[in-house]
């Protein structure tokens, strides 16, 4: 992990790739060399102090040669709305790269990557890195409907096999992306590692599936953040602790920003 920098990066390009979903390319040679799949950047969306806090967005793509990174984000509130209004040529104040990144084991041969909704954002970088390392990669994408399926083409270009599930059946398989995962396992395609990012209920289900199938699984979590660099303790999630006698509750709080955002699926305590 390289040091977190606070820099101004130039917006090279902005594109609405799906309704309310934007792809933005940033010139960031200072951070691109150290950036790893699964890490994120913490962005000041506006030029003044409103909204006040930064917004965390995953690194969608890492182009070391050109010194560029991409982000892929959905407009859900004020911060992302203002970000979507920024234009090519603008400077963006970011902190990054932040977080621990997905851990691809050298010995893994087959990699399964599952993304739900905007959760595919960090997965393209992961997919490209995995194929670069010569792994056999399959990607499952879940979305509400056809227009919201994002990243399929780029993921396929990277050399991975892609399958898609839509809730309403408007594109490819009708149903949940977790059905596809279960299907592929049933068919006997057993990955050495599963990586997942998406809605909580989806990740929880994937962790269950992976535990049943005895496949190592890593998930990328989200939590509301303030500092983004490990100082405020605002972004914690519950992580199981090794059965210490004194510890009645058997979990401790870990920071999603710097202890994560990627955690072992088996360690996450899912409540509510």
């Amino acid at each position: 992990m390289c040091a977190i920098l606070n820099i101004k990066v130039k917006i090279l390009n902005k594109e609405e790739v799906a309704p309310d979903i934007y792809l933005m390319k940033l010139k960031a040679p200072e951070i691109v060399q150290g950036a790893l799949p699964g890490q994120f950047i913490h962005i000041k969306c506006s030029k003044d102090n409103y909204p006040l806090l930064r917004r965390p967005l995953s690194i969608h793509r890492i182009d070391k040669e050109k010194g560029e990174i991409c982000i892929l984000f959905q407009v859900v509130g004020e911060g992302t709305k203002l970000l979507a209004n920024r234009t090519a040529g603008d400077n963006l104040d970011i902190l990054g790269p932040i977080g621990n990144s997905f851990n691809i084991y050298p010995e893994s041969k087959k990699i399964m990557i599952v993304g739900g909704g905007i959760g595919v954002a960090p997965l393209l970088a992961l997919c490209e890195e995995s194929t670069r390392q010569g792994k056999e990669v399959r990607v499952l994408i879940g979305a509400l409907k056809k227009e919201l399926v994002i990243g399929e083409e780029n993921i396929r270009k990277s050399g991975a096999k892609v399958d898609v599930a839509t809730d309403d059946g408007s594109y490819k398989y009708k149903g949940l992306v977790t059905d596809l995962l279960e299907g592929s396992i049933r068919e006997g395609w057993l990955a050495d590692q599963i990586f997942a990012c998406g809605p909580k209920f989806m990740m929880r289900k994937i962790v269950e599936i992976s535990l049943d199938a005895h496949i190592d699984c890593q998930v990328s979590l989200e939590e509301r953040m303030a500092c983004g660099i490990g100082a405020c303790l605002g972004c914690v999630c519950k992580i199981k602790t090794k059965d210490k006698k004194e510890d009645k509750v058997k979990y401790k709080y870990k920071r999603v920003c710097v202890d994560g955002p990627v955690f072992k699926g088996s360690e996450v305590v899912w409540d509510d």
């Binding site: 606070n6 303030a226 405020c232 605002g234 972004c235």
Partner: protein, 309 residues
């Protein structure tokens, strides 16, 4: 125009290069901000609130943005004083910036034990002083209860005073009818300085789930939104006590810091703004220096409490 000015301040006997400190809980254990800030340039560093035993803190979500502010309900998650001493304080050996420990407890005894323990190691580990948090709104026991009642304030501060010679800063809560009375009680009980404000109690509701957005229901409001309230309280307390005041609350640019100094703050703490701009402390130090030079003020102490009404 002068070409040099003096930014030095002295708080509770602690000598500061400049009046800009970091507010407890917003600067972690210091190290987190080292990639962005030369810690040697800060007036002082105040660490995340510490308790005798490690504390797990509150369940998430713990933070939520509000208009020009944020609510937090961290619940004093911290490593406990022993880990602090063993793993966090040694880091500061290479810096010459005073490190102040913000302390909390559920009972007076806990505050006292914590104070004694930090007193024992203060020379060796470079503990410059204590900031007594009697104003945390996010813990069930203790916390703010001490800071909302003058008698309780007097009791806890005088008890701590008896067991330590360390510089004692008492941190006040704004969630009171009359902060002057609390400030006076702390002064009478032997506080060397006062810092204010801690956060205002607040809540945000999720209209979809019809639940509070914070798992803890309420949280502490900080950030620019609270600045006018903090300024008013600093000014009120400045007219009441004779010990130095450290202003806290919503500062995000140099003008904000100057407002606090003019209203009576001998030093200031920057909190939430660190999250927005990790270099904000340095920018504020530089900005204060520029203002003093441009206004022909040779020594910052001339500016402290210079407000005319």
């Amino acid at each position: 125009m002068i070409d040099k000015t003096c930014l030095k301040a002295e708080i509770a006997g602690i000598k500061l290069k400049n009046p800009v400190m970091t507010a407890s809980g917003t600067f972690g254990y210091g190290q987190e901000y080292a990639p962005f800030v030369d810690l040697n340039r800060l007036g002082a560093i105040i660490l995340k609130g510490i308790t005798l035993k490690p504390k797990r803190g509150n369940p998430p979500p713990r933070v939520i943005e509000t208009p020009s502010g944020m609510l937090n309900a961290i619940g004093l998650q911290n490593v406990g004083v022993e880990v602090l001493i063993k793993e966090k304080l040694p880091y500061f050996k290479k810096f010459n910036t005073p490190v102040i420990i913000n302390i909390s407890g559920d009972t007076i005894e806990e505050y006292l034990e914590l104070t004694r323990r930090l007193g024992e190691v203060s020379k060796e580990m470079g503990v410059a002083g204590l900031e007594v948090n009697i104003s945390c709104p996010n813990v069930k026991k203790g916390g703010m209860a001490w800071g909302t009642d003058a008698k309780a304030t007097y009791e806890i501060v005088s008890s701590i005073r008896k067991v330590t010679a360390l510089p004692l800063i008492v941190k006040l809560t704004p969630n009171v009818t009359d902060i002057k009375i609390i400030a006076q009680a702390a002064e009478e009980a032997g506080a060397d300085a006062l810092s204010l404000i801690n956060t205002l109690m607040g809540m945000v509701v999720d209209i979809d789930s019809r639940r509070p957005k914070l798992a803890n229901v309420s949280g502490g409001l900080s950030g620019p939104a609270v600045k006018p309230v903090a300024l008013w309280m600093v000014w009120q307390v400045f007219q009441t006590v004779n010990i130095p005041i450290i202003g806290i609350g919503g500062m995000i640019k140099v003008e904000d810091a100057l407002e606090f100094i003019i209203a009576g703050a001998r030093a200031i703490e920057i909190g939430t703004a660190n999250f927005v701009n990790p270099r904000v402390t340095i920018e504020i130090i530089e900005g204060i220096e520029k203002y003093l030079i441009e206004n022909n003020i040779k020594d910052i102490t001339k500016l402290v409490g210079s407000m005319k009404i």
